[in-house]
């Protein structure tokens, strides 16, 4: 019997790193150099760092601290109190976008009004916050002209005209809005001239990716429910509008779905819809949520993963000739391990086992478990949710945004996810779940399993909220990955890792030349001793959100990267060697390193 060998053996790299780090940690304790301070960390330097990747000691963990108030970000996502209609529960995407290309991630929040507001002509204001490089942000929405795109659900970043300036794609309750970045701090709505005005349905997940490798970002948009403000199902009106016997909003079950759309970039600022020809039109009209491009089987062609709410996911395999075939069932990622469809909200991709392959993590509704599909190669995945220790912990929650996130900088991506119910009514009944729910953090144990550390990373993530999208990135260029959480009700949340081991790290920003300018779906394989990890530039993902486009590797005790192997979307492969850790590298296709910067002193400010 030739079973694919399990890859959750204790790998030599992880073992060595753990031993080395425990040693160093012990040394740091002896020298009274505690890393437990709640103060923001000083920029790392190999001379002073204490390193630890052993997750077993709570005091050793960085704390995810709520620094929202110090950032100057004031934004309120609107929400009706009762959420009597499904579209009032689904918005909440957030994007990290360096729109002014100053090397500091800025933040864009989507916003959505209630049905009542919409019917009376009122709009919800989405918002763009400029990163002031000192730990604070300034609301530049009005100047940028991105405040009122639509009833905004999600957001993704791409560079549709290849001018090097990242553009914004907003998914709306009725269609999409494409904002062209003018390069001067302003954006222009080019939806119509780009040929996207025909997209009229309820759009949710969007993702840019150059599926035909012509150097131009194509665009996929998943659509959700076929519903309009003039034809709304009545709250509690049927079995599909009830939850544990309580009257709630209707849908998506019982409502009609919408087909999905793939737009081919014509290379002249316009798109042409090719969904049907390409085979990704979703004729079954499943309830599409999040979508993301990646080359799962590493055959050189971008594949497409689309989650569907309560229905089987799609995994479209790219044949390299402009056609896709749904292989989700045969690949093992369509449904749960028992063959049951789950809610399929947010998607995270990550090489959590250091195999060089991207596994899939998906968040779900309560009474379902968040699923971790391990990528075994050759379009074969295994549901590792139970074996990895994730399933039981995640089952009670309605979860959304998620990410593989190396918040300890030990080189092993952990998992972070946020939750919050869709029915405020659950608070009035004993149904075993609440409207506001805590966030969850799982530590990668370097052996294929994860440890629930949600209560070990500080109080901020234990506070119950109604969260939706999350975006991760190094907001303060301090070498640590922060998390921006958009909530459905009220203020967003900025979480910064503080304290814990002073592990090394390295960051890459890629620019394509023959490849698309943002280098979407470029992969970097970083080798530091026996710590070998792979990262990727991704558009979209999480839940209707956009992470930082830079690739970040934690390096634990390694003060340099022996080798960085870059696989560009064009197929070119470049190798860089002996890269000093704790620096931000800008790489250009065919030109290697174009700049290298140390972390910013601004990191100490928030």
């Amino acid at each position: 019997m030739s079973i694919t060998p399990a890859t959750r053996l204790f790998t030599s790299a992880c073992f060595a790193a753990a031993i080395a780090c425990v040693f160093l940690f012990a040394a740091s304790l002896l020298s009274q150099s505690s890393a437990k301070s709640n103060a923001p960390p000083e920029p790392s330097s190999s001379a002073t760092a204490s390193h630890n990747s052993n997750p077993s000691q709570p005091s050793d963990l960085p704390q995810l601290v709520d620094i929202t108030s110090s950032t100057g970000i004031h934004f309120e996502h609107l929400s009706s109190p009762e959420q009597r209609y499904i579209m009032e529960s689904m918005s909440g995407g957030v994007a990290l976008i360096d729109y002014d290309r100053d090397g500091w991630p800025d933040i864009y929040f989507t916003n959505a009004q209630s049905v009542e507001m919409a019917k009376s002509g009122k709009k919800a204001r989405s918002a763009l916050f400029h990163n002031n490089r000192d730990g604070t942000f300034t609301d530049v929405t009005d100047k940028a002209g991105v405040g009122y795109p639509c009833w905004a659900n999600g957001v993704s970043v791409g560079d549709y005209n290849n001018d090097g300036w990242p553009d914004l794609l907003i998914t709306c309750f009725e269609g999409v809005v494409l904002y062209r970045n003018n390069g001067d701090g302003t954006f222009t709505d080019v939806t119509k001239e780009a040929g996207l005005a025909g997209d009229k349905g309820w759009a949710m997940g969007s993702t840019f990716g150059d599926y035909d490798a012509d150097g131009w970002d194509d665009l996929f948009i998943s659509h959700y429910v076929d519903i309009s403000l003039d034809n709304l199902p009545v709250f509690g009106s049927s079995k599909t509008c009830q939850y544990h016997g309580i009257d709630v909003q209707c849908g998506p079950r019982g409502l009609k779905g919408l087909p999905d759309s793939l737009y081919h970039n014509n290379g002249n600022g316009t798109f042409t819809e090719v969904s049907k020809e390409a085979g990704v039109s979703d004729p079954e009209r499943r309830f599409g949520l999040t979508s993301v491009w990646t080359d799962f089987d590493q055959d050189g062609h971008l594949d497409l993963f689309v989650t569907n709410d309560g229905q089987p996911n799609y995994l479209y395999r790219n044949d390299g000739a402009g056609h896709f075939k749904d292989v989700a069932y045969t690949a093992g990622v369509a449904v749960s391990q028992d063959g049951v469809e789950q809610a399929n909200m947010g998607v995270a991709l990550g090489d959590y086992l250091h195999t060089g392959r991207f596994s899939i993590f998906i968040t779900h509704f309560s009474d379902e478990y968040a699923v971790l599909y391990r990528n075994d190669g050759q379009m074969n995945f295994t549901d590792e949710s139970y074996a990895s220790g994730i399933a039981a912990v995640t089952t009670p929650y309605v979860s959304w945004g998620d990410a593989f996130l190396d918040w300890r900088n030990n080189g092993w991506p952990d998992i972070f996810l946020v939750s919050g119910h869709v029915y405020p009514q659950v608070d009035s009944a004993e149904v075993g779940t609440k409207y506001q729910e805590p966030m969850l953090l799982f530590e990668n144990q370097c052996n294929g399993t994860f440890k629930d550390s949600s209560k070990l990373a500080g109080p901020a993530i234990q506070v119950p909220r109604v969260a939706r999208g999350i975006a991760c990135g190094d907001l303060f260029n301090d070498g640590r990955i922060d998390v921006v959480v958009e909530t459905l009700k009220g203020q967003p949340l900025i979480l910064q890792p503080q304290g814990g081991p002073q592990n090394h790290w390295i960051s890459f920003q890629l620019e394509g030349v023959q490849s698309n300018r943002l280098a979407l779906n470029a992969r970097v394989k970083g080798t530091a001793g026996d710590l070998v990890q792979t990262g990727q530039v991704l558009s979209g993902g999480s839940y209707l959100s956009q992470h930082d486009l830079r690739i970040h590797f934690g390096l634990a005790a390694h003060d340099h990267l022996d080798k960085a192997e870059i696989v560009w979307p064009s197929g070119k492969v470049e190798t860089l060697t002996n890269l000093q850790a704790d620096r931000f590298y800008k790489l250009k296709e065919g030109q290697g390193i174009v700049s290298s910067d140390p972390p910013s002193r601004a990191a100490t400010k928030p």
Binding site: M1, I3, T4, N231, K239, A387, A391, A392, E430
Partner: protein, 397 residues
């Protein structure tokens, strides 16, 4: 069905023979043959009323003529003259007892004249002997109707079971069965309440009823009350555990686990509780404990496909596919429509590189899943709620 056709269906004797038992003189015999010929003509012209007269004449000439008695009885019955039909049919049966169709018709006639006791006796005797399906169905349904009227519903159970075996998709039969069982349920429920209003079983029954109506909390309260009255009553701990397990309330799963354990303590042979404990262990990620529970369940009930699937799942999670494979293969043999088992097996074959086997199992999974979904959807669509529908219509207008 036309009256003539119905009549012909019921007759056994008409036209196929002339009297053979009687010792008539040639002249009487000729008269009888003449009457019979005329009766044939009347029947073929759809004039049973005239044929009745001819058969009466024959009976007058030859009172021991079974065929004439029988056919006269049949004609009178279908002519609505039940009271007149009865003596003719009885006479025929006296002369020749092994005539189940005649006896069934006699039972029907007796039922229609209000002689329910005789009717029940005749229909009951005739029913198992009837060969023609349509006649057996009609007889069976009349018998069930009669049992229903006389309060003898338990006697209807084997009758409907026989009928359903013969025609499993017959909607009328299925509905009749449903009515019999639900009436029996009502009757039993009432008896239990009358006999032991404060008994553990009465509370257990009430809990089941509340659970069926979706009143989980009230059901749990009744189970708890039942357990207070009789902590050792069989099935109580398991049912309470099931209710707690499905309630979703905080801490209910832990409580459910305790109740399953209590059920097992009372009855170590309780295979279902072992299985459920396996499910709970698997849910909290303790696959070794899950495997132990499922393993014990399988020892108690080697053909329980759910325990097989559970154990196979645990083995798959523990990365022991070689142990999972035979279990899943056996599970789909025992329970061929179990979509989960087919899906699991498909996953396992895929991991083993057995692509064709994986595809076959995946196809089976999709087939059975679609079938169940269709059923669920049909049921959902049938749940018409005029009040809610009106609300929706109002809102849209």
């Amino acid at each position: 069905m036309k009256k003539t056709e119905v009549f012909l269906l019921w007759t056994l004797l008409l036209f196929c023979s002339v009297p053979c038992c009687s010792q008539s003189s040639p002249s009487r015999q000729q008269q009888i043959e003449a009457h019979l010929t005329q009766a044939q003509a009347d029947i073929s012209q759809n004039r049973p009323d005239l044929a009745i007269g001819e058969f009466k004449a024959i009976v007058a000439l030859d009172p021991r003529n079974v065929d004439a008695r029988g056919n006269l009885g049949v004609l009178l019955f279908f002519h609505g003259q039940n009271a007149d039909a009865i003596p003719q049919l009885r006479a025929a049966l006296r002369l020749q007892p092994n005539l189940p169709k005649i006896q069934a018709l006699l039972g029907l006639a007796e039922k229609r004249t209000g002689d329910l006791i005789s009717a029940a006796a005749d229909l009951q005797t005739a029913f198992p002997k009837l060969q023609e399906e349509k006649i057996q169905v009609q007889t069976g349904m009349e018998l069930i109707d009669l049992y229903s009227a006389t309060g003898d519903l338990p006697k209807a159970v084997p009758v409907i079971a026989t009928l359903r075996d013969k025609d499993p998709t017959n909607v009328e039969m299925i509905y009749t069965a449903y009515r019999i069982y639900s009436s029996l349920l009502d009757e039993t429920r009432l008896s239990l309440i009358v006999a032991g209003p404060n008994s553990a079983r009465a509370h257990q029954m009430m809990a089941q009823e509340l659970a069926r109506q979706g009143h989980t909390d009230e059901a749990i309260a009744n189970y708890r009350e039942a357990l207070k009255i009789d902590p050792n009553a069989s099935g109580l701990h398991f049912e309470l555990a099931e209710m707690l397990n499905s309630s979703g309330a905080a801490g209910s799963r832990e409580e459910a686990e305790k109740e399953y354990q209590a059920a097992l303590a009372l009855n170590p042979q309780d295979e279902k509780s072992e299985c459920k404990l396996g499910d709970l262990a698997a849910l909290r990620g303790d696959q070794n404990a899950a495997a132990e529970h499922y393993g014990r369940a399988l020892k108690l009930q080697p053909n329980d496909s759910e325990a097989m699937i559970g154990l196979a799942k645990a083995f798959m999670t523990l990365n022991q596919p070689e142990k999972a494979l035979p279990l899943l293969q056996q599970a789909v043999k025992i329970d061929p429509t179990n979509a989960t088992a087919h899906f699991r097996l498909s996953t396992l074959y895929r991991k083993m590189g057995r692509a064709d086997d994986a595809s076959r199992e995946l196809a089976d999974y999709q087939k059975y899943k679609a079938m169940k979904e269709k059923l669920r959807e049909t049921y959902r669509q049938m749940r018409l709620d005029p009040g809610k529908k009106d609300q929706e219509d109002d809102a849209r207008n």
